[in-house]
């Protein structure tokens, strides 16, 4: 049997493997992104970038209890004006950089997207879904009208693809997905709103109290969201949430995902997670007799 081909494409963006670094995990510093790309990620999404510099929340910003992982980082970022330098460093890798952005309205999103395009990113990812920062989370990502406006506005202002990243913390995901369907791909899912209290101090652990649950605990939620959207809409979907192994990635792909993102798994496996999952994927595909990813993409939808 010929060796399995694990490459994939999202629109015109070609990926040597289907594994992308998720936004917010080791992707503020240009050198960090470059190193992760050199160690096996096919692409990286930057930390979500806003109009102004933001410090984010005070530590503790993570509350962990394996496999539970909750974060409330609070969207720290250097601001759009200063991020260009980091993207420049990351681009030395020659691999696609996706610029994640967040704003409070259509105009901010457009400004940020245009700047990102200037910096040479391959696509922008609209973070419509941060679950724990007031004004940027469900206030935006839970409102179909606003989502539609932002996506339309951004699409009309740039020539590179725009992906819309949605939240699972909504009553009806499909409504939001339809509202965002002018985008070139949907990214599902952001974190699930959660919280941890330390019972010996009697205090919420995170300085922001509420945070976002990620990692293996939310994989079933991510799979459900991808499946639900792909059952109803014909739009590329990028799966994210709890992927730690090729088996997890395959589950997302069988639910219809074109590619996947990995974040929290770096906690357990470090940057090596990308080469690990790639290797496992080749192994899975050759033992199951798949030569290309397309052969099993979306098969659970039938």
């Amino acid at each position: 049997m010929s060796i399995s081909d694990i490459s994939t494409s999202i629109g015109n963006i070609h990926l040597s493997n289907p594994l992308i670094l998720a936004s917010g995990i080791l992707d503020e510093n240009g050198h960090t992104m470059k190193r992760i790309l050199s160690e096996g990620a096919a692409a990286v999404v930057t930390k979500s970038i806003g109009m102004e510099e933001r410090n984010g929340y005070k530590p503790p910003i993570v509350a962990t209890d394996d496999p539970i992982f909750i974060n409330a980082v609070g969207l720290p970022n250097p601001g759009i004006n200063d991020v260009g330098e980091e993207i420049k460093i990351a681009r030395e890798s020659g691999k696609p950089i996706i610029g994640s952005i967040f704003g409070k309205d259509e105009n901010e999103f457009i400004h940020l997207a245009v700047k990102m395009q200037e910096y040479g990113v391959s696509a922008v990812e609209l973070n419509l879904s941060c679950p724990h920062v007031k004004g940027f989370g469900s206030e935006i990502g839970g409102d179909p009208t606003l989502v539609k406006k932002i996506v339309k506005g951004v699409k009309g202002s740039i020539s590179i693809p725009a992906w819309a990243k949605l939240s699972p913390n909504v009553t009806n995901l499909l409504d939001i997905a339809i509202a965002a369907s002018d985008s070139d791909a949907l990214v599902l899912i952001n974190t699930v709103r959660g919280m941890k209290i330390d019972i010996y101090s009697g205090r919420p652990v995170l300085s922001n109290k509420v945070g976002g649950l990620s990692g293996s605990s939310i994989k079933p939620v991510g799979i459900r969201c991808v499946y639900e959207v792909k059952s109803n809409l014909d739009i590329p979907v990028i799966g994210v949430g709890g992927i730690e192994s090729a088996l997890d990635a395959v589950e997302y792909i069988m639910a219809g995902a074109t590619a996947v993102q990995i974040g929290t798994a770096l906690w357990k496996y470090g940057r090596a997670v990308f080469s690990k999952v790639s290797m496992e994927l080749v192994e899975f595909m050759s033992s199951e007799g798949y030569e290309k990813i397309e052969e099993f993409r979306g098969i659970a939808l039938k």
Partner: protein
């Protein structure tokens, strides 16, 4: 998981440094650290300054969190997670421990009969743990000359035959480590350096402690000299709380 452990005693080491002793039956090696949470204030990285059955945090009072931590009383709890990070490499032969600021905290578990020390501080009363070395094995430097050599840590190191040691362990603020690295440069010595940077997560997720694509909290905090010499960001730029690149 957050460990919550009652401390046994709180020892005053210098006017700005306290040590908190406690029992914690975890395997910890010298150079590793924990993330210490002071509920209601913040969470900061702290090396273990004892790594046997009895553990110790040695806290220098910089700001709100370390000040609050230094006031924890016997019977009260400290909250922390870990241990994290790559430890120092242990060697059999003679060792030299070079610590500035609170740096001596993480070196303290390495003090044994083979160890010599270089301790630097602003003035005499801030010299940390110098009394734990044999009299003839300690070199001291103070900025104000109140004890030992008047000068900085590099001035103290000039007095010493560095090639004579199987391993030189260094810990302190990046600026100090930079001056040491510039000083020893490509000399044929074995040296491991424990770096300090802003840390938010402690577990290789948030990018706030990164240097040249390495995460201090997981790839470090200890690095060998040759790795540090390849780092373009070392001593030049670091990340602000926001993630913005700033110059030293």
């Amino acid at each position: 998981m957050i460990n919550s452990i009652r401390i046994l005693r709180n020892e005053i080491n210098t006017p700005t440094v306290n040590s908190l002793y406690f029992h914690w039956d975890a395997m910890v090696e010298p150079g590793q650290f924990v993330m210490v949470w002071v509920p209601g204030i913040s969470e900061i990285p702290m090396s273990l300054s004892l790594t046997g059955k009895e553990k110790c945090l040695t806290v220098k009072k910089y700001g709100d969190t370390s000040n609050a931590l230094s006031k924890v009383e016997p019977g009260e709890r400290i909250f922390f997670r870990g241990p994290y990070g790559k430890p120092f490499t242990r060697v059999k032969g003679k060792t030299l421990l070079v610590g500035g600021g609170s740096g001596m905290a993480s070196l303290r578990p390495l003090i044994d009969k083979n160890a010599s020390g270089v301790v630097a501080a602003r003035s005499s009363d801030e010299l940390l743990f110098k009394e734990l070395f044999a009299k003839d094995r300690i070199t001291v430097a103070t900025d104000d000359g109140s004890e030992g050599i008047k000068g900085n840590i590099v001035d103290a190191m000039r007095e010493i035959e560095l090639e004579a040691f199987e391993m030189i362990y260094v810990c302190g603020p990046e600026r100090m480590i930079k001056s040491i690295v510039d000083f020893v440069s490509v000399r044929k010595i074995n040296m491991e350096l424990s770096l300090e940077r802003n840390m938010k997560c402690g577990i290789g997720i948030c990018d706030s402690c990164s240097i040249d694509g390495f995460q201090l909290c997981t790839d470090g905090p200890t690095f060998n000299l040759s790795t540090v010499l390849t780092m373009k960001e070392f001593g030049r730029t670091k990340l602000a709380e926001s993630g913005k690149r700033i110059w030293f």
